[in-house]
């Protein structure tokens, strides 16, 4: 009996020592993401520092390029060796991971933190599957900003346009003065991004949702859609011939260096202006082109997902990570560096730049929030549309009707 007690006491202490060792080791969080540019890595360091302060060890696993990072993460999850948390874009990219029970649902944390009340509705919907949160959104990126060079506009005596017909008229005047009216990164992704800015601005939020979300063929056959497509086609003439193949940041640089007047991009482009020592509202401005009102903002962003685990210690580390991600102070700091705005609308943004404040103000009215393509459409359908857009954009002889035909084909066919 005595021996037994002693043995069990020994076992118990061994187990305790072992488990505390394991606990210290399990406080390690391996984070897989694709934030590798200067601004991005500075932003993710905010989370890493906060997590370290909270007593954890942040193991940074950054893989350049979203596609590569997601492929690596999914391979590791399927292979049974997942990282502690990994990054996705807000939207449908992780749908199948949920249906295959590879992700942990974080609804308990969401209810405790009242995420449904403090985040925009479309972001909440994009993170919830079957009524439960499966992803933690960390930021909101507006995708359809028009960045403009204030000096170029002042010198030409022009005002930044509020609608697309206005934009074309303004662009022609700028072109006559030898300035590139629109700086465009001539790669399919950015041509598609420009198309979406025109679609939501000229066609409206409803048409945008019908196009990417419900794939409404009637909406695509409507005169409004055709008008929008033709308007998009007219923008070809406002882009310089060197555009095809250009990287988006080289296009932004054209605006920074006064060579171009306008540039459509997501708010991540602010990083380039900041790196060039420019301030929002001074050397450059940002606005939304649409029906002349405050504008509709297409919003997407980034989320982190948490691979399912049965290990209690691993779950505790994930809990701690979630706390760090949504802590108001780290939200503010992270988003200042990332160029996005906090996903929590209850954070005070008065210390952020003019563009971020504008974005925050626009989003206060839920009717101005438009879900980004990634939230509405599968990667496969988005890709098929991208193929059609880049063909239309690069072939001035292609008619709007031929484009509509291609789109309807993609709607019928793409999964």
């Amino acid at each position: 009996m005595r021996l037994k007690t002693r043995v069990s006491a020994y076992t118990l202490s061994c187990a305790l020592i072992w488990s505390s060792g394991a606990l210290a080791q399990q406080q390690k969080a391996e984070v897989l993401h694709w934030w590798t540019s200067a601004g991005e890595s500075a932003a993710v360091k905010v989370f890493a520092d906060q997590f370290t302060k909270a007593g954890g060890t942040w193991v940074d696993n950054a893989i350049a390029g979203g596609v590569n990072a997601r492929a690596a993460g999914i391979n590791r999850m399927v292979g049974g060796n997942p990282p502690t948390m990994l990054q996705f874009n807000t939207g449908k990219q992780f749908d199948e991971l949920v249906t295959n029970d590879l992700l942990r649902d974080v609804d308990k944390q969401a209810q405790a933190g009242k995420w449904r009340d403090i985040m925009p509705k479309s972001i909440v919907e994009a993170s919830v599957r079957n009524g439960k949160f499966y992803a933690v959104p960390v930021n909101i990126h507006g995708q359809n900003w028009l960045f403009y060079n204030t000096k170029v506009f002042a010198d030409a005596g022009l005002e930044p346009p509020k609608t697309f017909p206005e934009l074309i008229a303004t662009g022609e005047k700028l072109k006559a003065k030898g300035i590139i009216p629109i700086a465009l990164g001539g790669q399919p992704t950015w041509e598609h991004n420009l198309f979406r800015a025109v679609l939501v601005g000229n066609g409206g939020a409803d048409l945008f949702r019908k196009f990417y979300g419900s794939r409404d063929q009637q909406a695509v056959k409507s005169p409004k859609f055709k008008e929008t497509v033709e308007l998009f086609g007219k923008l070809r003439g406002l882009v310089d011939p060197g555009s095809p193949g250009r990287n988006w940041n080289d296009a932004t640089a054209l605006v920074i260096t006064n060579k171009a007047a306008m540039h459509f991009n997501g708010d991540w482009a602010k990083g380039e202006f900041i790196a060039a020592g420019q301030t929002a509202g001074k050397e450059y401005g940002c606005t939304l082109v649409g029906d002349g009102s405050s504008g509709k903002l297409v919003i997407g962003g980034d989320v982190f997902v948490f691979p399912a685990s049965k290990d209690k210690a691993a779950l505790a580390v994930q809990d701690k990570l979630i706390e760090v991600l949504l802590d108001p102070a780290s939200q503010l700091e992270f988003n200042k560096k990332k160029g996005s705005i906090p996903v929590r609308l209850d954070v005070d943004v008065s210390s952020m730049d003019a563009c971020a404040e504008r974005s925050h103000a626009v989003l206060r009215d839920p009717s101005n929030q438009v879900e980004a393509m990634e939230l509405l459409s599968t990667p496969n359908f988005s890709g098929a549309i991208q193929d059609a857009v880049t063909q239309y954009w690069n072939n001035p002889n292609m008619s709007a009707d031929a484009f509509v035909e291609k789109v309807i084909g993609a709607m019928r066919d793409a999964s």
């Binding site: 999914i74 095809p244 193949g245 890709g383 880049t390 690069n394 084909g409």
Partner: protein
């Protein structure tokens, strides 16, 4: 490239010889076994797995249902894939013939015992040491109408000079060919130069005695002698054609529009970016079939038929 025929041990051979043979060959077979297993499991296994997936409706993750030829009919209705197939044909023909012709001319040039031969050899072979990504980016800058050649010539006083192939839908694929030839011609040169150096000096003397012009000797005597080198170079270049991906990604990203898309990029995009494993693997399978149907007649002519003829 000659095949060695291994004759089976005859039945009447004494037992000791058989045992001896097994004993001497066993280590060799054991040493080959891991490689054979890797080839079987990794290459053949993955190949069969890819073909199997092309008959499913897999999206982000592989799943093993059966949809018949649906993905293939989608594939052949997809203009991007059709453009890719056409582009790889154009690129393949022009790239291989361009590299062979330019490589041969360079090899002949160096074979004239020019001064500073090793310098030229290094210069010509140097592009091959660069990755396709570096090649692509360099040529992208060089051919960009706003930055490179066109601007240079215009700044030199020819304001009407135009060379905008890179941003021209109809011509962009040829800029890829140019960059590819720049990259691959040096290797072809090195291979053919080795062949030229192996040509018997007596042949040259004999030709000189007969008064045959040099160019004629190169074409009628030397070129046929170089056949094995040409075959080697062609095979090496052809593998480069099939896997053409990084050059396009670095140089044009498939654009303008879809003008320079290639099959390998179609496969990669659909597998990893568009969560459409099924369509991607169907395209990969078509690529495999195309390669096999090009290689099969050649293998047949080279190995099977010649073996049969020799008895």
């Amino acid at each position: 490239m000659d095949t060695i025929s291994i004759r089976a041990p005859s039945i009447s051979a004494p037992r000791a010889t058989v045992r001896h043979r097994i004993r001497t060959r066993l280590p060799a077979s054991l040493a080959l076994l891991p490689t054979a297993l890797v080839v079987l499991v990794v290459y053949i296994g993955c190949l069969l797995w890819t073909v199997r997936l092309s008959f499913t409706s897999s999206a982000l993750l592989p799943k093993l249902d059966w949809v018949g030829l649906a993905q293939y009919s989608r594939l052949f209705a997809n203009d991007r894939f059709l453009t890719s197939a056409e582009n790889i044909l154009i690129f393949g023909c022009l790239f291989i013939s361009g590299c062979l012709i330019l490589g041969f001319l360079l090899a002949v040039f160096i074979d004239q015992n020019v001064r500073g031969e090793s310098l030229f050899r290094t210069v010509f072979l140097y592009p091959y040491a660069m990755s396709f990504v570096v090649t692509g980016v360099a040529w992208q800058w060089f051919l960009n109408p706003g930055l490179g050649l066109q601007k240079l010539v215009r700044d030199m006083g020819f304001p009407n000079f135009t060379f905008d192939w890179l941003v021209n839908q109809d011509m962009a694929i040829y800029t890829i060919v140019i960059a590819g030839i720049w990259h691959g011609a040096g290797l072809t040169m090195a291979i053919l130069l080795a062949g030229l150096r192996g040509v018997d000096g007596d042949l040259w003397k004999a030709a000189r005695v007969d008064g045959i012009p040099t160019w004629r000797v190169y074409i009628s005597v030397v070129l046929p002698l170089l056949r094995p080198m040409i075959v080697t170079a062609t095979v090496l270049l052809a593998t480069g054609v099939v896997k053409l991906y990084d050059l396009v990604v670095a140089m044009t990203l498939g654009g303008p529009g879809i003008a320079t898309e290639v099959p390998a990029k179609f496969v990669m995009d659909h597998l990893f970016e568009r969560n459409n494993i099924a369509l991607g693997t169907a395209a990969a399978t078509i690529m495999l079939i195309a390669v096999v149907s090009v290689l099969a007649p050649w293998v047949y002519a080279r190995y099977i038929r010649s073996q049969g003829r020799l008895g």
